[in-house]
């Protein structure tokens, strides 16, 4: 891998599909409160879009837009965001992950702020999951040698 076939049709379809998929993924993450979905599902779809890009184009293509260091950073950043929101609640004087307390710093009432907190962590989960999926796939399919596009 990666570049199984260098097919213009596939690349063209990809060029159109990937933004749509990514947009849908963001929708899924953000709209988890009202419909099925959430950080994890959205993150998976986002990650799948990158994988699709990698299959359709080349590993270099993805790496240029999405450098490995950045990706690794994102892996840790998403979950760090999650844990940090929890810790923020703790610092503000409530229990860990008790988003209700966030009303001290956010302009909303304690119940609404819980939904905001939920959104925050969903975003964190989404970031992590998409980055993780990409990272695992990259490592698996190239056996850790990111440069060579061998099959």
């Amino acid at each position: 891998m990666i570049r199984l076939i260098e097919d213009l049709h596939i690349q063209f379809v990809c060029r159109i599909m990937v933004p749509l998929i990514q947009f849908f993924a963001l929708y899924v993450i953000a709209h988890g409160h009202y419909s099925p979905g959430g950080g994890f599902q959205g993150g998976c779809i986002l990650g799948a879009s990158f994988i699709l890009m990698m299959i359709a184009y080349d590993i270099e293509y993805v790496k240029k837009r999405f450098p490995e260091k950045f990706n690794t950073f994102m892996v840790a950043f998403g979950v760090f965001l999650y844990a940090a929101i929890g810790a923020l609640c703790l610092i503000l004087g409530a229990e860990y992950l008790n988003y209700g307390i966030l009303h001290k710093i956010l302009p909303a009432d304690p119940v609404k702020v819980r939904a905001l907190g939920t959104l925050g962590i969903e975003i964190g989960v989404g970031i992590t999951v998409s980055a993780v999926m990409l990272s695992i796939f990259l490592n698996l399919s190239t056996f850790g040698k990111h440069e060579k596009s061998e099959v």
Binding site: Y34, S35, F40, N139, L140, F143
Partner: protein, 124 residues
């Protein structure tokens, strides 16, 4: 008869689980073991989802305007949440297992357990 029909989901989940379990312990091919693992875990998820089900109930997304909430109308959301976590655990284990398999293949150039053991024995 009533037992069989009333709980057919359970029977199927047991069957699936045993298929996966058998593959995990009896198959020689390492990838097949992983496939078995996947089936096994999915079967457990099926079991959990089955426990959440209520007859004539709908998905647990509420409509805001509704005044009185009848619990029996919505399926139980808790097992769903647990199973979301379990799916993530499943895919993580799957990824790690595949990583180990790739490492093994690079080292021994085979994925059959008995062949690997044979190679190890020759080394000694």
């Amino acid at each position: 008869m009533e037992i069989i029909i009333g709980k057919y989901n359970y029977w199927i989940y047991i069957a699936l689980m045993m298929i996966g379990f058998y593959a995990m312990i009896a198959k020689r091919n390492l990838v097949k073991k992983i496939v078995g693992m996947n089936i096994f875990q999915t079967a457990i998820i099926l079991y959990f989802i089955s426990t959440a089900y209520k007859k004539n109930a709908t998905i647990p997304i509420l409509i805001k305007s509704q005044e009185v909430i009848d619990v029996t109308q919505y399926v139980n959301p808790l097992p769903h949440v647990l199973m979301l976590t379990a799916i993530v655990v499943m895919v993580s284990t799957f990824g790690v297992a595949l990583a180990v398999i790739v490492m093994l293949y690079k080292k021994y150039k085979t994925l059959e357990e008995d062949e690997i053991i044979e190679i190890l024995r020759e080394k000694k």
